[in-house]
Assembly symmetry: C2
Homo-oligomer: 335 residues x 2
């Protein structure tokens, strides 16, 4: 029976079109994609030995052979730090100079590796780089919002094979974030509790959408997930901003993320995916009403005219089924 | 210089990444897609002679050889009218039975034709079918919102070659529509004018983003367009709902839409695209603060992790350049 579900945190309705549902296995691409098998590429700006092809590094985390993770400026930045943060207004036309930061996190020395197949310690370094750079960029008072994200594969908007993530700092707070904060504030005023804490508690009680859980994190397919295998990784401790992640929590997040990506890689045949960390704007760091989380969206279906016309999503897989499928997939066996 | 622009009607900031900008010609796919060249397909449920492969028609518009346009139920409906509109609530989990309508508008008898290449009279019939069915569905008091849309090509989510559009009636009002209505109401209270009328007037004064204009409609690339060649077709007369389109305006909308699609087809080598009509929820039909429009989004770039993490878009083409490019493309010469 088709049904609609409301996500209390985003106030978005999602349509579950079960008449069109496929079995989880049917979302696997027919053939494994031709990812690079080269350990190293002579022309790749992110490979060791080619460091002079990028500008100076913002961050180098050391490893046995030199650097392990490197953060460099994006060669084609969407926003640039040499710009002013000036505003213009002519009638209805409001512009803001493109001030901001756009950095690339080179996740590993190896050209052919993917985050799903790295060791726990290696994923640890990637998350540490995220935290260090996000904290640094948020400290600039001209920054409105910091987005940490990853595009894996061409359908997810990735044009560079070498494993990497991106960090963009914008001079404004996006309207969607403003709306989510307002929704969270209203829920907090009504209930005296963070809406994300509330959802997490009810998801843990229900259990059927949980993929895995440890001392600090829960990975689950939300009750009103956008798309098949759409996952939220939520800290159990109420924390509004990703930059509040402690040194003790970091390895637990690495373990959780790596296991989820490994299960997706194995169960869905290395699909393209996007990953994003949603945090509160820095101006509200430490607040009681918002909660950061990491979202993973395998790109197994496409956004079309219905989504364009309504902002609503049609999801062809029930979250309970997506979660069960991922629970059943093997996790990594090596540390 | 990179810049951000605010859309006053949606309150969304769009990043213009001019450092990454390509020339408009660079968005053309390398090779023309292999669209079907068959006039007729024996197995296509939308081809003449195969009418028994679909359920009864909701609407038939007559033509010289039988029907010209036909509206049928979607074989795999996202929402179904045999469902109740019941709601359930268990703690944080809110569900709504999947009541609604999901219809397919078969735009033409010919299997290989596309809306861009139809005659003005044929596009007229498609729009007439939209209006008749949307008005009918909106009259059901259990319907919250009606979305009219079209997916052209696989990258736009289209799985059926025969030219068709879709109409979905949902039992709820989507959150994005609620937010836009709230933004429009606030602007109306502040300024005593519809924000879309205001933007249209300023766009006409500025002129540089207008693609074409006639007595009743303006087609332009909005000051803060989401993506390259993203176009709004707006009625000049203040009307909140598409179903208020008059018989006199309908042929002018057909001419505008056909010309825009023809220019996109020729200038960008028949790209995949989505089309959607955004209207006020029926409960506010006739209101002073909202304005319907038709949006066309060629799928020449992809949505990635940044958009997922922030709800903001990065656009690699300035709207002025997209508009100039489309103005320079030839329009149809036949009526």
């Amino acid at each position: 029976m088709p049904e609609l579900r409301l996500n209390l945190a985003t106030r978005e309705w999602i349509v579950y079109a079960t008449e069109r549902a496929r079995r989880p296995e049917d979302f696997r691409p027919d053939e494994r994609r031709h990812r690079s098998r080269a350990l190293h590429s002579l022309t790749c700006p992110f490979c060791p030995g080619n460091e002079d092809l990028t500008e100076r590094s913002m961050l180098l985390l050391p490893g046995d052979d030199g650097w392990a993770v490197r953060v460099v400026p994006n060669k084609f930045p969407a926003l640039a730090d040499h710009e002013t943060s000036r505003r213009w207004s002519t009638g209805a036309f409001r512009k803001q100079a493109g001030f901001g930061y756009h950095e690339v996190v080179v996740e590993h020395r190896r050209h052919d590796l993917s985050l799903a197949l790295m060791s726990e310690h290696e994923v640890d370094d990637v998350l540490l780089a995220y935290r260090i750079r996000a904290s640094k960029l948020q400290a600039d008072p001209r920054v409105g919002y910091v987005v940490i994200f990853k595009n894996h594969g061409p359908a997810a908007g990735c044009s560079q094979e070498h494993p990497h993530s991106q960090i963009v700092a914008t001079p404004v707070v996006p309207e969607q974030i403003r709306n989510r904060v307002a929704t969270a504030v209203a829920f907090y005023d009504d209930n005296g509790e963070c809406v994300y804490c509330h959802l997490l508690r009810e998801e843990l009680e229900a259990g059927e959408r949980i993929v895995l859980e440890n001392e600090a994190f829960v990975a689950y397919v939300p009750f009103a997930a956008y798309s098949p295998f759409h996952i939220w990784i939520c800290p159990k401790r109420h924390t509004a901003s990703f930059s509040e992640l402690t040194d003790g929590e970091l390895p637990l997040l690495a373990r959780t993320l790596r296991t989820i990506l490994f299960k997706i890689h194995g169960g869905l045949n290395d699909p393209d995916y996007n990953l994003a960390i949603r945090s509160v704007p820095e101006s509200a760091r430490g607040c009681q009403y918002y909660h950061w989380y990491l979202s993973v969206v395998p790109r197994v279906t496409s956004i079309a005219g219905f989504e364009l016309g309504s902002g609503m999503y049609i999801n062809t897989a029930l979250p309970e089924e997506s979660a069960r499928f991922l629970r059943e997939q093997a996790g990594p066996t090596e540390p």
